[in-house]
Amino acid sequence: MLAAGGGPAAPLRALLIGGYFGTWVDAVAAADAPFSEAGLGELKAGVGAGLVVALPASACGLVETARIARYLADESAGQCGPCGFGLDAIADQLARLAMGAEPDLALLQRWVGQVGSGRGACKHPDGTVRMIASTLEVFSREVEQHVRGWCGG
């Protein structure tokens, strides 16, 4: 599927498959997967909005996710608490993680569990938290680095 876009211009670290509500997948794992629900299902991803973001190895997935999370939190319609308060708090905590500014991982995980379980008035918080949960999984190495205060990206 990357070949259809002209192929990667730089070595890749990961792909965000399915747009902003999609799933981060390690670039090596995703390399040969067909772009279909069945093919992506094996990677616990899906076609979603049909978009793929390619993250080069020189960039940091946590910084990128923190930026997306802040955007999505700001896009909340503010109609219900879990979204209005929850996503905002999660985006703040992700920003701390991205900057290595004493993030509280346990708190972040707790909020991800509380907000993204179908409780919102719509699916906006679910999709956002889904993407964030995959971030913490795929970029677990970066998370460890950032907790210790440095960024390899």
Partner: protein
């Protein structure tokens, strides 16, 4: 088994529900209810209370 449902648009995190039915309701870190389980039969009569008394009429007992 009956299930409690929250209308999150109406809910204003007043917290009365968790006072009345802590068996199946918890609050998240911002005071909004999390329904932790379906309402067991022995609790069904009591489960009508938070539905009736919620100041925002944000609860529904389904089934």
């Amino acid at each position: 088994m009956a299930e409690l449902k929250v209308n999150m648009t109406a809910c204003d995190a007043r917290g009365l529900c968790v006072e009345l039915l802590p068996e199946v309701i918890e609050l998240d870190d911002w005071g909004f209810p999390i329904i932790t389980a379906p309402v067991p039969g022995w609790l069904e009569d009591q489960a009508h209370e938070p539905v009736r008394l919620c100041p925002r009429l944000a609860l529904l007992l389904d089934g």
